[in-house]
């Protein structure tokens, strides 16, 4: 039966574990608890974690109210419901955990007065009756303290949180997660997400994509071209490593053009940083750069990534405004809600990202060409756009595994500075681009409920994980730092033997764990909810992939070069800015006005698709998202988690309800099988009737692995 998403991230009824036991505990242990902590509370701590203060309290705001203990440690603030034990199965379970850096606002309530803490010079002058912890991930924890001689503890714990938060400006990683568990989990992971830390991973991924004209380059194995680049990346087969090295030097921060993704239809999506205009390349360098951008295609489109997209500061401001709007006591009146929402401009940014991604996916699918995403830093919106384009273009990216490896490749390995962008370091360049990306994906999920294997809950889990300092995935700015921490290159002698990767010793145990080890944080019931019950794999037939083009590499200079900017293509005379006009790209996109979209001019400029698409104009597998005002929506389950009144009954129970019913019926049938004739039995095993999500996953992964080479 349905319980609605009561402000929690999952649709799982908050079960009272062992109700009788809990009751006994509550009455019997109230007295001792007031003096010392239960053993099991302390046992939930991670190695190196110290409990600073604690107080018994009641979690409020959601139904049912849970009695428990509020604990402040040097790493996090956590609420432990009474009788609840941190399970060994999921050592990092984080439903009520707030990493110290995640605390965005702290409020203490006494009677009618409400004081906001965490501000310099705002000492707590009263004993709080209730404390509200607002997470920067939109979560809210409301704990009311019990009266009866325990008030000093309430005061202590509040002050402890304030102090710990103030001291803890730098992120502290949870260390020492029991490795036994970790090893076990990674062993049981069925198809592991490729972490792309070895060249084998890259090679396998390249084969999977069928990018025949490309090879894995080991030129950055020592991170001497760029620390923000992964150790391995894909370059055109014909390009020599020396050419790569030479060409990359002329790009901002050494981030030269690399293959990001090979479209099954033959197009290539590349990403690179801005041209380093101060450099003075010689002829050969220019030729190397050009051939890498061209990637063997006769048609090259340079996409000015930042054009029409918000700046990093815009994103940050919008996110702050959105967070302010979504606070439970937000001042926006109900009838003014919509314009307040519009005023945050967050949805506007989501929309422009979707729009641009949809344009680029048309560019990629409509012809065989090389599409180059160019952003100055190549670490933010390039990743966002390239991942969105892949999600829109191929069904494989929409599976659970496919999406995880997509994020791993385009964000983690490509060197998105998570630490800086999520504001963990306190640096000024905070801008939650990754969260913007998750919102875009959520919009797609809303618009195409049958096309994605993962569900909203998976996105939520990913959203929350970005703020939990437990694995290295989101805790480092560059692959270099991540590798350093993980102890991957203790000795440089290893580089000549890439096949041999020595497992690091037990000194830094988490290094092996990634955010994709979901079973560390979520129990099996929750992980089951990562699957979208409405996913319809029949929608993506596997046979549509066209053959590889026989004449793949076209020698000679590109016959047409375009700049895609302001939603339109403009011809360029040359690919590189250095020949005649030193800063063509830097200037050109800025003064190009957005083509007025009147129907007349549109019809005039219409970009024809191949005529033989005829009656079914869209290539199967390509999704074109809606990005009109009415179609972009607020991710309520995420952003309005702090307002339980808005959360109730969020999604219709229907599909999951039916799913339950189906499995119930199948279970019944299974029990009855002995009585049923053999033909009936075989009918039951018909692949069509397998609707169990887990089975679908297995089925699907099998397909993905055995897919086209």
């Amino acid at each position: 039966m349905w319980w609605g998403g009561r402000g929690q991230s999952f649709n799982i009824a908050p079960q009272k574990e062992e109700p009788e036991m809990g009751c006994v505990q509550r009455t019997g242990m109230l007295e001792p608890r007031s003096r010392q902590l239960d053993g099991h509370v302390a046992s939930g701590c991670l190695p190196g974690e110290q409990i600073l203060a604690w107080a018994p309290g009641v979690r409020k705001g959601l139904e049912p109210e849970l009695p428990g203990t509020l604990i402040c440690t040097n790493l996090r603030v956590t609420f432990q419901p009474c009788g609840w034990q941190r399970s060994q199965e999921t050592p990092l379970s984080s439903e009520y955990d707030f990493a110290l850096v995640n605390i965005g606002r702290l409020e203490a309530v006494s009677g009618l007065s409400r004081v906001q803490l965490l501000r310099p010079g705002s000492p707590l002058k009263f004993i709080p009756e209730e404390i509200l912890i607002h997470g920067r991930d939109f979560r809210l924890l409301r704990v009311a303290f019990e009266a009866g001689g325990l008030e000093p503890q309430a005061f202590q714990v509040t002050m402890a949180i304030v102090q710990a938060r103030a001291q803890n400006s730098q992120v502290q990683q949870y260390a020492g997660i029991p490795l036994s568990k970790a090893g076990q989990s990674s062993g049981s992971r069925k198809p592991p997400v490729p972490l792309l830390e070895t060249s084998e991973d890259w090679e396998a991924e390249r084969k999977k994509q069928g990018a025949r004209g490309w090879r894995v380059s080991t030129v950055n194995e020592r991170f001497d071209i760029a620390t923000s680049l992964p150790r391995y990346f894909w370059v055109p087969k014909r390009t020599l490593d020396s050419e790569v090295r030479r060409a990359f030097g002329h790009f901002h921060q050494g981030r030269g053009p690399r293959l990001s993704w090979h479209h099954p239809g033959g197009s290539d999506l590349l990403r690179c940083g801005g041209f380093y205009t101060a450099s003075d390349p010689n002829k050969e360098d220019i030729r190397a750069v050009e051939s890498m951008l061209q990637a063997g295609h006769s048609d090259v489109v340079l996409v000015d990534t930042v054009d029409e997209l918000p700046s990093l500061a815009d994103v940050q401001l919008a996110h702050l405004r959105l967070r302010a709007l979504c606070l439970p006591d937000s001042s926006a009146a109900e009838e003014k809600w919509l314009s307040a929402l519009e005023g945050t401009r967050w949805l506007d940014y989501v929309r422009s990202c979707l729009r641009k991604a949809s344009d680029i996916s048309v560019l990629v699918t409509s012809r065989v060409r090389s599409v180059v995403l160019q952003e100055r830093g190549d670490r933010d919106f390039n990743g966002l756009l390239s991942s969105l384009v892949q999600l829109l273009s191929v069904p494989e990216a929409r599976t659970l595994l496919g999406f995880q490896s997509l994020v791993q490749r385009e964000w983690v390995a490509a060197g998105h500075p998570f630490l800086t962008r999520l504001g963990v370091t306190g640096a000024s360049e905070e801008a939650p681009v990754f969260l913007l990306f998750l919102d875009c994906v959520w919009q797609l999920l809303q618009q195409f409920p049958a096309e994605f294997e993962f569900s909203e809950f998976f996105l939520l889990a990913l959203h929350d994980s970005a703020r939990v300092p437990d694995t290295l995935t989101f805790l480092r700015d560059t692959p270099w730092e991540r590798g350093k921490q993980g102890g991957q290159f203790n000795s440089y002698t290893q580089i000549y033997n890439p096949g041999y990767c020595q497992p690091p010793a037990g000194n830094s145990v988490n290094s092996q764990l990634s955010v994709w080890d979901w079973d560390l944080r979520y129990n099996s019931e929750q992980i089951l909810q990562f699957h979208n019950p409405g996913y319809d794999p029949e929608h993506c037939p596997d046979s549509w992939l066209p053959r590889q083009q026989p004449s793949f590499m076209v020698p000679g200079p590109p016959s047409s070069v375009w700049l895609f900017s302001r939603g339109a293509l403009t011809p360029l005379n040359q690919l590189c800015p250095w020949r005649d006009n030193p800063s063509l790209l830097a200037v050109s996109s800025r003064w190009l006005p957005r083509a007025a979209i009147s129907s007349e001019s549109l019809a005039d400029q219409e970009w024809g698709l191949p005529s033989h698409w005829g009656a079914c104009p869209l290539p199967p597998g390509l999704l074109l998202p809606g990005y009109l005002g009415p179609q972009i929506r607020l991710w309520r389950r995420c952003y309005l988690r702090g307002r339980p009144e808005v959360q109730k009954g969020l999604s219709a129970p229907t599909i999951s309800g039916l799913q339950d019913e189906l499995s119930h019926l199948q279970e019944l049938l299974r029990k009855w099988t002995p009585r049923i004739s053999p033909e009936d039995h075989s009918k039951k095993r018909d692949p069509n009737t397998i609707l169990n999500p887990a089975e679908i996953t297995v089925f699907f992964m099998g397909m993905a692995e055995g897919g086209p080479e």
């Binding site: 139904e63 109900e334 409920p449 066209p546 339109a568 005529s611 809606g626 129970p653």
Partner: protein, 827 residues
């Protein structure tokens, strides 16, 4: 100016033969070359097909004045069927229509009439329809994804509708005709559905009304169901333009007489038509029995009685022939003020509290004696209803501190402008400010206020055990709205389709909501036009959207119901009161005594094929679990779903009366009126409301019990299916609700199959459900606006503007480029 054309138009050109003058044949799609604007475009495949057809058409000879003069292949699929039907009922029609021209047989007019009949047969017109004027070689703009093209055809105006008969119609594939309205086609606009007519004179858009001096080159018609039609008259003969434009303006905008409604000619013509069961199990509330049945159902018969004082409308023409009043109310009181000031029963709650409504007494300041009389009368009435067993009554005056009709009117007229879009440029312009525009229309806020008021009243009935009396000037606008909303929220029966239809019959039709004025069907006064019923449907939609499993019907049902408001073959929404319906119907039939056979909208088979009707039904609606086993068997034949899971967590009705306490009752009886006054103080009201609302929402929902909507800011939404369905930019291929629904239906089918296996006995039940996925499965990618946007599906394609084409070079280069095009498709 020289234009460089994209590839496909080159191929189109190649297919064009010089002997094919695009406009001459009057058929097919015209390529862009001859026109100053490039909207007339087609994808090459389609273009080819059309070219072929136009060649075929053109072969018999030069221009023909009318297609119908010669034997012609039926334009529409159902034409043959329509013809057969027409033949069967031919005598009937002749006596109605033929009579008029009988004297002038052979004359020009008669021939014309015959021709019109033949045309109407092709148009699949309802019986009794007359052709008024027509124009040929009209170009209808088809907007699809920012590129425009045109279809040639005839524009006709009959006394029922404006119709465009394109020559491209037969291109529809099967899939798309399945959810076709049988009465109104894709290119049909009933005269009552026309909202505004604009003309374009030299690129300037002007509203058209009255007598015209100059005739426009382009006609834009905005419909009340938010469709927008563009007709280009530039290639039409001048006299035809004059005739059609003035005809359309006259017939849609001039005030009309009630008896001239198409309803009557249709009913007269369809007299011999064997009526399918018109009641469709919907309780019509036009007999005393129906009211008694309703009283029994809600267990209100203890305190209330159905009266037949108004039989033949002797007492009052505003009230229905039968209604329900408190038992002790003396009958002579009923006739005192023509039905004003009488508490009329709407519905009884499970705890015995009732919802009543009363129309206010007319205010006459100058007459002291009269007002004195009124006062004493009212006091008497209040005394009667305040006496036990009625306990206390709370009066809710809807005409003073609630919405005004004016508010609703202005809000809706602002709101609908957001969706009545002439071209995509306009859409993109407004898109950036979408939320603030939406908010400034305050339509959503009005919905919120209505829902809030309904929750307040629900709280009084459910939690406080207080009777509620709704007061309004005529008790026929907001009273209907609020009382039916309360019933939808409190009475699960009203959430079934039959129950909902009965509710509309009871509260709106019999409640005397003046549909004729509120929809401005007769074009008599624009001021009276207020979309109250639409507001109600929108409020119900919010509930349906928030709690889909609680309703037997879908949002599609609500959408087609809202469309039916403007189809003048159903009597349901075309009268101001039941009295008017009974009387005018009789009047218009001058001599014959036989009452007219008026259709009701609840007979959905008139509009939709059974397959299409399936989309009106919510497959997920779970029937209320019945304890009685015998009953359960019976209900299974109703094609309603029952959960196969044990309903462990949901108790029979956890929300019922969780507020009630035994002492409550006593205290209220003791304090009586004083409390009721106290309750009226707004602060307490607000607190009560908040508490009631919050505590309901914190409990798990019982879909067969009380149902409250969410009314927070982010929760009130735009009814996308109704308002956005005609905007091609708003559709998402392979996405939206349609995708979920098709998945759901598939799973439902699966469940059915398994259930059948478990039951191990054959069921006839699976048949109906099994068909549903077929309807949806036809194409892998449905539009999100399904079932309405199907017709715009095929041409949609990604469009990417390039400013570079002009600089690119000549066409040869393009052609070369096309050769190297790598084939993606035929692998």
């Amino acid at each position: 100016m020289r234009r460089v054309l994209p590839e496909w138009s080159l191929s189109l050109k190649a297919n064009l033969r010089p002997t094919d003058p695009p406009a001459a044949s009057g058929g097919g799609v015209v390529s862009g070359c001859g026109f100053p604007t490039p909207w007339a475009r087609a994808r090459s495949g389609r273009g080819e097909r059309c070219q072929r057809r136009s060649r075929m058409r053109a072969s018999p000879g030069p221009q023909r004045p009318w297609g119908w003069a010669e034997p012609q292949p039926p334009v529409l699929v159902a034409a043959a069927a329509a013809g057969a039907r027409a033949a069967a009922s031919a005598p009937a029609r002749r006596c109605f229509l033929g009579r008029r021209y009988a004297g002038e047989r052979g004359s020009r007019r008669w021939r014309r009439h015959q021709g019109a009949q033949a045309l109407l047969r092709v148009v699949r017109a309802p019986r009794g329809e007359q052709l008024l004027c027509e124009a040929s070689t009209v170009l209808k703009y088809v907007q699809e994804d920012s590129c425009q093209r045109g279809i040639y055809g005839k524009l006709v105006c009959t006394d029922f509708k404006i119709a465009f008969l394109g020559d491209d119609d037969s291109a529809l594939d099967n899939d798309e005709t399945q959810f076709k309205n049988k009465v109104i086609g894709e290119n049909d606009i009933t005269l009552h559905c026309v909202d505004q007519i604009y003309g374009v004179f030299d690129e300037k858009k002007k509203t058209l009304f009255g007598q015209l001096k100059k005739y426009p080159e382009k006609l834009i018609i905005h419909c009340k169901d938010l469709r927008v039609f563009h007709f280009c008259l530039r290639y039409t003969k001048e006299e035809e333009v004059k005739r059609i434009v003035s005809g359309i303006i006259h017939h849609t905008q001039a005030p009309k007489l009630l008896k001239r409604l198409f309803l009557f000619s249709y009913a007269a013509a369809a007299q011999n038509h064997a009526a399918t069961d018109p009641r469709n199990h919907t309780v019509m509330f036009d007999t005393l029995k129906d009211w008694c049945w309703e009283l029994e159902r809600t267990k209100g018969s203890v305190k209330y009685k159905a009266v037949s004082v108004n039989e033949g409308y002797k007492v009052c023409e505003r009230l229905p022939a039968y209604f329900v009043v408190p038992t002790p109310l003396p009958e002579e009181d009923l006739s005192r003020f023509q039905g004003h000031g009488i508490p009329l029963w709407c519905w009884s709650c499970h705890n015995g509290c009732a919802l009543l409504k009363m129309s206010a007494l007319p205010k006459k300041e100058q007459d002291d004696g009269l007002s004195q009389m009124q006062k004493s009368f009212l006091d008497g009435i209040y005394k009667t209803i305040h006496r036990p067993p009625y306990e206390i009554v709370k009066t809710e005056d809807l005409s003073s501190n609630f919405l005004s009709l004016q508010d609703i009117q202005t809000a809706y007229s602002k709101f609908k402008q957001l969706f009545l879009i002439d071209n995509s440029t306009e859409f993109w312009d407004t898109d950036i400010k979408w939320f603030s525009l939406l908010e400034s229309s305050s339509w959503l806020d009005i919905i919120r206020r209505c829902l809030k008021k309904a929750i307040e009243i629900t709280e009084c009935l459910e939690a406080q055990n207080v009777n509620v009396l709704l007061l309004e000037e005529n008790a026929s606008d907001l009273c209907c709205l609020v009382s039916s909303l309360v019933q939808v929220m409190m009475d699960p029966h009203c959430r079934t389709r039959i129950g909902f239809q009965s509710l509309v019959q009871k509260e709106w039709i019999m409640g005397g909501h003046s549909f004729l004025d509120r929809c401005n069907h007769l074009r008599q006064s624009d001021k009276e036009e207020v979309p109250v019923f639409l507001l109600f449907l929108d409020c119900v939609w919010q509930l349906v959207h928030q709690h889909p499993p609680a309703f037997d019907f879908t949002e599609t049902y609500l959408t087609v119901l809202s469309d039916s408001l403007y189809i003048p073959i159903f009597s349901t929404f075309f009268f101001n009161s039941p009295h008017q319906k009974d009387n005018v119907g009789r009047e218009s039939q001058d001599t014959q005594s036989k009452p007219l056979n008026l259709l009701t909208v609840w007979d959905w088979s008139v509009q939709f094929e059974p397959k299409a009707q399936m989309l009106l039904k919510n497959p997920l609606y779970v029937e209320k679990p019945k304890l009685d086993k015998g009953q359960r068997k019976g209900t299974r034949f109703k094609h309603q779903r029952q959960l196969s899971l044990p309903l462990t967590q949901s108790k029979s009705s956890p929300k019922r009366g969780f507020f009630r306490e035994e002492t409550d009752h006593l205290i209220k009886n003791l304090l009586g009126k004083r409390i009721s006054k106290l309750i009226n103080s707004s602060d307490e009201l607000h607190d009560n409301f908040r508490e009631f609302y919050d505590s309901w929402h914190s409990k798990p929902t019982d879909y067969h019990g009380l149902l409250l909507p969410h009314i927070e800011g982010p929760e009130i939404k735009v009814w996308a299916q109704r308002y956005l369905r005609w905007i091609p930019e708003a559709q998402i291929l392979g996405g939206g609700r349609a995708a979920t629904v098709s998945k759901l239906l598939e799973m439902m089918e699966e469940v059915e199959r398994l259930q059948e296996k478990i039951d191990a006995r054959p069921h006839g039940q699976g048949a109906l459900l099994a068909e549903a996925p077929l309807l949806l499965r036809g194409s892998a990618r449905l539009s999100a606006l399904f079932p309405f946007a199907l017709l715009q599906r095929h041409p949609s394609k990604p469009v990417l503007p390039t400013s570079g084409w002009k600089a690119l070079g000549d066409e040869e280069d393009l052609a070369k480029r096309e050769d190297e095009f790598v084939d993606l498709g035929d692998v």
